[in-house]
């Protein structure tokens, strides 16, 4: 029987691998997710078949968790997807912490003790880190970086404390004080690690926490001596690391810089920008769009905040009916999580082949008549190319300023998240369409339809 269970885990691993492979292409992604869920089913059933398990409590736990998960998955708004993923990450981390703690048995080997500490540490910081990320993303706490003096010192002390109590615990596992210290300090460390990171850097943080939740499962796998946890956990761990790298690259910053610099804490440097702001009315914008034969739309987090994706789709259809070619240019870090804009536009029925990645849209930007920037700022900031002293200098951006005309939909003239002036707004070919993005686009839709 035990052998059969182990082979079932092998089968589950194969299903996870095929599932992830198929998640890599839009045409097969849904099937891939299904295959991966089959893998999970096989693994869980196999675990249930092992001897001497108290089913009552497992079923109660599963029913409770499953019901909460299903309800959350059904009810969540697509715009709230980043905080939802953050929250799920956190639960995964906490589960690994609990498994690590529960795996502690008298007479464990040092190796097992070390893996228990690791699953508690990674699981704990994933849990509280994700809760803070959730709070920031849902604006329940300030999304600005929280910085205070001697922050690095305090964090260093926490890390040293974790290391010391981890060593003490491994030497002396019977003294539960050390274990509680490791747990407590890991939880505190998760909070301290995420509060100095600002809202616009959340794509990196979520990817990293995603990776951690996998690594925590991995460590728990070592603690309970279970292969499938290690395989599945490390697959998730590497997926998260790859996404983290992509996000960092898209911002031209190192991971260390994202995690420790408190970027965007409001230290605006006064750069003189030449030119003046030229506002435009909805009506005038309509006349320009009506004559355009090629339009590019560049959405940012502001589109999510204004919930404007559906009305954007409406406008797209009207412009296409009017004979224009409409494409979307999606910057990798637009929004609050990797692929955030793509999900929102998919929800609004925009086909995914109409969404172009930055490297595909930039070469054709010169042939675009009108580029419409909706609630994006730093990802279209030409200062990243032109102003060497700018904090975002070197970050790859979507070059909307090479389009013939640029419309920027914006609430007010407040600078972007990073507090950096955007010379785009002052360019000769830029027109500012002030107001709520949803209302402005709604106005354009009305002009087009009647």
């Amino acid at each position: 029987m035990d052998n059969a269970i182990q082979f079932a885990y092998v089968a589950a691993a194969v299903l996870f691998i095929f599932g992830l492979k198929q998640l890599g292409s839009p045409a097969t992604a849904r099937r891939g997710n299904f295959i991966s869920s089959l893998g999970m089913l096989v693994a869980v059933v196999a675990a249930l078949l092992s001897q001497g398990i108290d089913y009552t409590w497992i079923l109660i736990g599963f029913a409770l968790g499953g019901a909460i998960g299903a309800a959350a998955a059904r009810m969540v708004q697509m715009t709230s997807m980043p905080e939802m993923v953050a929250l799920f990450n956190g639960f995964g981390g906490m589960a690994s912490l609990l498994v690590g703690a529960a795996a502690l048995a008298p007479g464990s080997s040092t190796f097992t003790l070390v893996t228990i500490v690791l699953s508690i540490l990674i699981g704990g910081l994933t849990f509280t880190g994700s809760l803070v990320a959730y709070g920031k993303l849902s604006e329940k706490i300030t999304s600005a970086p929280v910085l205070f003096s001697a922050q690095q010192l305090v964090n260093g002390a926490i890390v040293a404390g974790i290391l010391a109590s981890a060593v003490m615990f491994c030497i002396n596992p019977d003294n539960t004080l050390w274990l509680y210290l490791v747990i407590g300090l890991s939880l505190v460390f998760g909070i301290m690690a995420v509060i100095p990171i600002g809202g616009a850097d959340m794509p990196v943080v979520i990817s990293l926490l995603n990776s951690y939740s996998g690594l925590a499962a991995c460590a728990a796998g070592f603690a309970v001596d279970n292969n499938i946890l290690i395989v599945a956990g490390s697959l998730v761990g590497s997926a998260g690391i790859i996404l983290t790298q992509i996000m960092c690259k898209a911002m031209n910053r190192s991971l260390t810089n994202v995690l420790f610099s408190g970027f965007g804490s409001g230290k605006t440097e006064a750069t003189e920008v030449e030119g003046e702001i030229k506002p435009i009315s909805v009506e005038d914008a309509y006349y320009v769009l009506e004559a355009a034969s090629s339009v590019a739309i560049i959405p940012g987090y502001g589109m999510a905040v204004a919930q404007a994706q559906h009305v954007v789709k409406e406008l797209t259809e009207l412009m296409e009916a009017n004979g224009a070619e409409v494409n979307f240019g999606i910057h990798p870090v637009a929004g609050r999580m990797p692929g955030h804009m793509n999900v929102l536009l998919a929800e609004a029925d925009v086909p995914y082949d109409q969404l172009l990645e930055m490297d595909d849209i930039n070469p054709r930007m010169e042939t675009v008549d009108v580029a419409i920037v909706i609630g994006a700022n730093d990802v279209v900031n030409p200062a990243a190319r032109e102003v060497e002293s700018s904090p975002i200098y070197g970050m790859p951006v979507i070059n909307v300023d090479s389009a013939r005309t640029v419309f920027v939909l914006k609430r007010s003239m407040a600078s972007g998240f990073a507090g950096i002036e955007n010379p785009l707004f002052y360019k000769e070919n830029t027109r500012m369409l002030f107001g709520d993005a949803k209302e402005s686009i709604g106005g354009l839709v009305r002009e087009f339809s009647g």
Binding site: G19, G69, V85, G92, A102, A217, P338, Y352
Partner: protein, 101 residues
């Protein structure tokens, strides 16, 4: 007749599996288009709920002690992750459509 086979210690064996799966993960995910980043993340997140399997194996027999309750808590949390993660990923992926015609 082989009487004594060299047994690979389980630490080494598990580490072996860890290293190979990490490399496999990098290979599998390297080429995912940006459009799928969110579903990939939430799908991967669901997989990280595999801790559920570890938790189930720890609930153990009927004796109510601390580690049993910890494991039951882990079962509940990991179930949120697994069930919620797969369902929400499916909901997202159902929305992704190719242009008709």
């Amino acid at each position: 007749m082989i009487t004594e086979l060299y047994q690979v210690p389980s630490e080494v064996f598990l580490t072996f599996i860890l290293v190979l799966s990490i490399f496999l993960g990098f290979e599998l995910i390297n080429k995912v288009p940006a459009t799928l980043h969110t579903p990939l993340m939430s799908g991967a997140n669901a997989i990280s709920g595999i801790t559920l399997v570890g938790a189930v194996s720890l609930v153990g027999s009927g004796d109510p002690d601390l580690s049993k309750w910890l494991a039951v808590g882990a079962v509940a949390l990991a179930s949120i992750n697994v069930v919620g993660g797969y369902l929400v990923t499916d909901r997202m992926l159902a929305m992704f459509k190719k242009k008709e015609g």
